[in-house]
Symmetry: C2
Subunit: 453 residues, 2 copies
Amino acid sequence: MEQAAFKQVQAHIRAALAGGRFAEAVYLLSGLRPADRADLFFRLDQDLQVALIEHFDIPVTAEILEELSDEAARDTAEGMSTERLADVLDQMDPDDAADVLGDLTPAKAALALAEMEDADEVIPLLSHPDETAGGLMTTDYVVLRRRTRAGEAIEFLRQVGPEAETPYYLYVVDRHGRLIGVVGLRDLIMADPQTPVEEFMDPDVVAIATGADQEQAARTMARYDLAILPVVDEGGLLRGVITYDDVIDVLEEEATEDVLNLAAIEAGSISNRPYWSLHIPEVVRSRFVWLLVLFVGQTLTTAVLRRFQTQMESVISLSLFVPLLIGTGGNAGSQTVTTVIRAIALDEVRTRDVLKVLWREGRAGAMLGLLLSFVAYSWVLLTGLSSELALVVAGTVFAITVWANLVGAVVPLLASRLGVDPTVMSAPLISTLVDATGLLIYFTVAILILEQL
Amino acid sequence: MEQAAFKQVQAHIRAALAGGRFAEAVYLLSGLRPADRADLFFRLDQDLQVALIEHFDIPVTAEILEELSDEAARDTAEGMSTERLADVLDQMDPDDAADVLGDLTPAKAALALAEMEDADEVIPLLSHPDETAGGLMTTDYVVLRRRTRAGEAIEFLRQVGPEAETPYYLYVVDRHGRLIGVVGLRDLIMADPQTPVEEFMDPDVVAIATGADQEQAARTMARYDLAILPVVDEGGLLRGVITYDDVIDVLEEEATEDVLNLAAIEAGSISNRPYWSLHIPEVVRSRFVWLLVLFVGQTLTTAVLRRFQTQMESVISLSLFVPLLIGTGGNAGSQTVTTVIRAIALDEVRTRDVLKVLWREGRAGAMLGLLLSFVAYSWVLLTGLSSELALVVAGTVFAITVWANLVGAVVPLLASRLGVDPTVMSAPLISTLVDATGLLIYFTVAILILEQL
């Protein structure tokens, strides 16, 4: 639907709700695409959401729950009667149903499962942690045996097809249930109906382990351009498949987590939640820890300045350049650390490349430092201060830029080596590391050049 | 292939290349999955790449070109004979072939096109800019007329199917070529062979305009969970389709661009290029502009400190806290600007929400500022300085944190309103904005509280 038309329907729905015409609002909402409907639904007041949800039919309610964020889906599900919830869960894709069940109180989840008809599709999914390939997979796929003939497979698909979430790839297993091949629906209709699938299946199937991290699953699918990725357990038994749409969500979530971590925000528990859904205390909690760590780190600058207090008192102009110099170091360090972290995330740089990375970033830092030190030298002279001071500032700009580039290169690689998520080595953290050491460089250069010190 | 097995093959290939056994290396490489093969190929020295590429058969060469980065693909293609290049381009997916042709010198591209058999599939794609939906689409899709019967459609697919990149969704057009519906291959095999497709097609097709930005295309596909998105021109005529795998690449590229921009790196021309492929001068160019802008911005801090030089001379301890205070402001500002920019990117926050965002971030800033000012007050006292100075530092920490949160909230929204990419309003830029104003706050608070000033 075009943006303009969507806005018009939205206005109609709001008017209907404001006027208490629930039936009209439900009718209009039911006609929208699932994503648009969920979007609109999520922006309503919570009271209104709870009041409305009872009025949709079961399939529409299932679609709404599939699209809502985990938190909103849980709240909505908790508000429903057990009978209705069980019907809705039966209608949902098994992986989404498992996610909702996993977020409910254990008592409510047990009641809903007992009422469900397709509980057997969902129960195997409940035991996998949310962040793993197993937690992302669905059980709604089509399995063939190696001796099944193409014609039989199509007939089988005609019967179960309308239910399967992923009808375009069919997986072939041996008699133990081990994954041995994949067949595209296209290959099936091309093949002679009498040919067994094992003769035209692709035996080189990319698969992932149930316990693998969800980001690894997403990267594997991106790398091999897969729309569906089968998930196997330690014995090679096919346990489920991960679909394209879930992977996009994982990549978005991981990108959000990386971006927030890079800005020194503890993103683990908030990266999959929309901006407006977070309460202020949660926001404060996610930010305060890092602000405090950085504050403590920054107190080192005070200690360094104290150590050089006599030098500052004898040449008071020295203090004028403190923010400029540490700011420049921080900026150069932010650039490098972010570049290196991104290269690590995309698997372009590994820990064993540390010397090559240092050499590369060191050279970039030297060129940038040289360019900036010319600017700094000219500018200090222009402000009417001595050429000696200009030399001190320019020299420090050069040294601090190179130093910041080296620190920004080595710290994320070190973190990665130690098994720490390198995105936690945020730009503010590098700036803080560079600040105190940058001041040491500054006063060392000053003592070397200025005669009065 | 398992990681360990892949490493083993990799070692074999390197050994074969080192020993000059080209035929063996080519044989081993041809057996790898396309993504793995390209990965390995790209890590070789450029001379070796050029020497090797002539030895692969046409389909494998086409797969290598499809997987290589734009730059590497161009270099490789430039090195091939025109006849061979034309054969390879014929074998490639039309969208990838068009990308390679667009990057070649016009003379080489014209020669290759003249030699190609399927030039008519590629030529319509050449006129669309790379960053648009048209630049991303392929012409390799299956079109049906509304009156085509299900059985005829399957028969048609049996004939053209092996060529189409996207055989699982078939698009229905009217006699003018306007897109009017979509049919899944599954629906086709379920339907009675005599039924015309218009009776079971889905007429509510999500489509995008040829000129739309590629990021918008990616977001649309993510929103509606589409594996394929049709592209139409202004008249509603179907022009091509965008496939799932290209969208993942776009999302990765946009995420990289956002992350680099947030760290004050001009990412436009480098965000789609691997870390090692950039030359140092390109790295320096992408970083220097922003370092210079920020340097100029930072010189304001020197001006402010000069203005308050007499106050600093009379209470020299004031200078000790300058890095700590502006550092804290910068960190708080980085957190807020990154949060708001991410919310804008995910379309959770719009420019009209500015007051709501300010109110929210202001409250978070007040709570964070209060917590930090307690820490700051205690810490200054512990270092043995006066309680008056502790009060100045604590008061400034509070004011600067609130101020940084407000600046970090309003600046990206303002940029977005003015049509500037908000990610360019990077964390370092906010830090720089907060630095000079933060110092003004500091000395104002100091003059209010300290009697000697």
